[in-house]
Amino acid sequence: MSTLSVLFDASHVLASQRWDEFLQQTINGLTLGSVYALIALGYSMVYGVLKLLNFAHGDVYMVGAFIGFGMIQWLGFRGAGDTWAPVVSTWFVLLVVLAVSMAGTAGLGVAIERFAYRPLRDAPRIAPLISALGVSFFIAYSMQLMFGSQQRDYNAFGIDNGKLFLDGVDIGNVRVPLLRIIIIVSAFVLMLLLWLLVTRTRTGKAMRATSFDREAAAMMGIDIDRVIVFTFVLGSALAGPAGVMFALRAPASVTMGFVAGLKGFTAAVIGGIGSIPGAMGGGLILGMAEAYTQGYISSKWSDLFVFVILIGFMLFRPQGLFGKADIRKV
């Protein structure tokens, strides 16, 4: 009898451990996924309005992470080893960092649109794509020229003696650190704001109209240039915070934009490119898939898994989970 009860206890412990691990991976997935969703939104909106794959979007995200790094340094945090000397509260610092990186990347997005894409709006489709590749390369290596190729660590653990990592909410045996909660909540707040903007305002209506049929929208008196600039502002302004959120947890480097861009694009495709809820859903699905692969299968091949998902979607359901099939009009 006693052996049986021991066995029972052991299996109970195992089950709860498994549950804890699953929970842990789910939270990882949600964190990753909200970053991917924010990137995917930028891809998706630009594609919706311009039918252009903005390859430079991943690099806008990278620049956002670097702006955040600069702000954290400037606000008094001095690199590795040191602890945060809070002149102002941690919350305020995080808010300022997010806001400044949003403003910076929004400006960058506008500049990219104005100088690299607008002159090519009526060119053959391959031209803006090549231009986008050039922009992506230009930004990544300009950053390397200015700031070097070494990794930049926010050292977020030093902020308020590790408050962001040690404090948090307990779910069962698993503690969800404050940082992850901040990331997930702020990503959702941003997405909610975007959703309200697109569905409830006149500008949002103009965006949707432009995305539906650009020429018809122009004939209805919508200022297409303004709408496109606004789309780039919104999309890039979401990429900036995404970069900061990523870099709060892992060091930032000038090459981080490329793979992040690919993943954001994958998320947009999974959800159905051009659809805003699709990009959010796609980002979360991709984040979860990656977290579970890393947790249960192998971290080395998790990228491979992501790409296989994408190619599968591309081939068998190019309109994504939430998108509508694209009917080609001649």
Partner: protein, 513 residues
């Protein structure tokens, strides 16, 4: 074109030919457009070609030189390089340029002729190199002779290209680009992590296939080996000749393909896939063929590359290489074989020159000067800009040296006869610190602003921008050749797409709406 042809109703009956109309038609017969070709489009070429003056004459003369004469000149020059240059470095650059020329020719088939954006192109190059390293090395202890392995690998490249092209049946334009990009990423992931696939060391992981344990065989023909290094340990020039022969074969073969029915079909596919489909062309099959041809050329190039280097490394086959080859094709002119070869030569030589700060300095001033002459011609404005910039430089230098000694305490990087002038003209602080990124961003912003203003404002703004450019080049970019090279490639792509999508030798597109 005479007015009466434009408006026939003005001149009475249509059935009765007007006096003089026949002569007009006869006179026009020589230049009249071919059937099915828009008249204005047909004249467009003549308008462009009909440029007068010395430039026009030179252009006409150059255009009348047949293609094989160009090829012969190129072959002669490359063949003489090992004779003229003892330096292993120059020989190696010549070999690399040949490799790039081959890569550009292959990419031109997909992008220039087929009009398909293939971002996985370098993966085919990598597949060729890795396949050679697996079939002819000690890695798996398989040592196929080159004459067996190379045709096998070319066929493999063509088949993989066909498979990767398959999505083009369903996906248009940009989706295809992304699928090929992911295929490239897949290739990178597999090569970097492939040292333990279910316990088998497939690709050697991040160390690649190389070294003593897995050394890759040199090329061998009928049992006659071409060692990668000479007995003295120098670069074996035989590889230049092998690459040259392969280049000539590929060039001639692709030229015939381009002139064939398939070549014409590709071009119509590029111009308008829908119209091509309506005309009964098998567009899906044509796309696959374009992919397959490009992939086969890339794989062939990969074998030569792997055999010379006696190894393959995943770091070679990365995104920057893709951008480099794209920059070559776009700069030379997508669709023009001579153009992409020229593009490959220009870009690779430029990138090599940029490695050495002393040489890179000349590149900057020569390119800026040439650009100014090309845009402003020999005019008063050119004199104003040049004189203004030179005066501004000395003035700024004098003022700065009065204000602070440290601001001019630096010395120019590299050597060359310009260093003395640069030291007196450009402000060279002993260390820039935070001013490096600030000045670079200011330069980019200034150049972008220049494109939005015009007239004398632009001339006025050009002067400080040029000086700022020299400041950034001397202080920031010369010291870091690696990012500088790639920044230039990115800038080349964007600028060409915006300002001159046809590149140097490409045919300009004429849009008919």
């Amino acid at each position: 074109m005479s007015d009466d042809r434009l408006d026939p109703y003005d001149s009475g009956s249509l059935s009765a030919p007007l006096p003089g109309a026949a002569e007009a038609a006869a006179a026009e017969g020589a230049t009249s457009p071919a059937v099915g070709r828009d008249e204005w489009v047909a004249r467009h070429g003549a308008n462009l070609a009909g440029r007068g003056g010395i430039v026009g004459t030179i252009q006409a003369r150059l255009a009348s030189v047949p293609w094989w004469a160009w090829l012969a000149v190129l072959v002669a020059i490359v063949a003489l390089i090992p004779v003229g240059f003892e330096s292993g470095y120059v020989r190696r650059v010549a070999f690399d340029t040949l490799i790039y020329m081959l890569l550009a020719l292959g990419l031109n088939v997909v992008v220039g002729w087929g009009g398909l954006l293939d971002l996985g192109y370098i993966a085919f190059y990598g597949i060729g190199a890795y396949a050679y390293a697996m079939l002819s090395s000690s890695h798996f202890d398989v040592h196929l002779p080159s004459l067996v392995s190379i045709p096998l690998i070319v066929a493999l490249g063509a088949v993989v290209g066909l498979l990767i092209g398959l999505p083009s049946w369903r996906l248009s334009g940009d989706y295809l680009a992304i699928v090929t990009l992911f295929f490239f990423q897949l290739f990178i992931t597999i090569t970097t992590n492939g040292d333990d696939v279910f316990g088998i060391d497939l690709t050697g992981g991040s160390n690649g296939i190389s070294g003593v344990a897995a050394s890759v065989d040199p090329l061998s023909f009928f049992g006659w080996e071409l060692p990668q290094l000479t007995d003295a340990g120098a670069f074996n020039v035989a590889y230049i000749y092998v690459a040259l022969v392969v280049f000539v074969i590929v060039f001639v073969a692709l030229r015939f393909v381009n002139l064939s029915r398939t070549g014409r079909a590709w071009r119509s596919l590029r111009e308008d896939p829908l119209a091509a489909e309506m005309m009964g062309m098998p567009i899906n099959w044509l796309k696959l063929m374009a992919f397959s041809f490009g992939a086969a050329v890339a794989a062939l190039t990969g074998t030569i590359f792997a055999s010379l280097n006696a190894g393959v490394f995943p770091n070679t086959f990365q995104f920057p290489l893709l951008i480099t080859v794209y920059a070559m094709v776009i700069l030379g002119g997508a669709g023009s074989m001579g153009g992409v070869v020229l593009g490959a030569i220009i870009v690779n030589v430029l990138l090599e020159v940029l490695r050495e700060p002393g040489d890179a300095r000349y590149v900057f001033y020569v390119v800026v000067l040439a650009g100014l002459v090309a845009v402003l011609r020999f005019s008063v404005r050119l004199v104003v800009v040049l004189g203004g910039t030179i005066l501004l430089g000395f003035a700024v230098h004098v003022i700065t040296s009065v204000v602070s000694d440290r601001a001019v305490a630096g010395s120019p990087a590299g050597g060359g006869f310009l260093t003395g002038a640069v030291d007196r003209w450009v402000v060279l602080p002993d260390s820039l610190g935070a001013w490096a990124p600030i000045s670079y961003v200011a330069l980019v912003a200034a150049v972008l602003l220049l494109t939005t203003i015009s007239g004398w404002w632009r001339i006025a703004a050009l002067v400080p921008t040029l000086y700022l450019g020299a400041f950034v080049w001397e202080n920031v970019m010369l010291a870091k050749p690696e990012p500088t090279r790639y920044i230039l490639l990115g800038a080349i792509l964007v600028t060409l797409m915006v300002a001159r999508p046809a590149g140097i030798l490409g045919e300009r597109r004429v849009e008919i709406v």
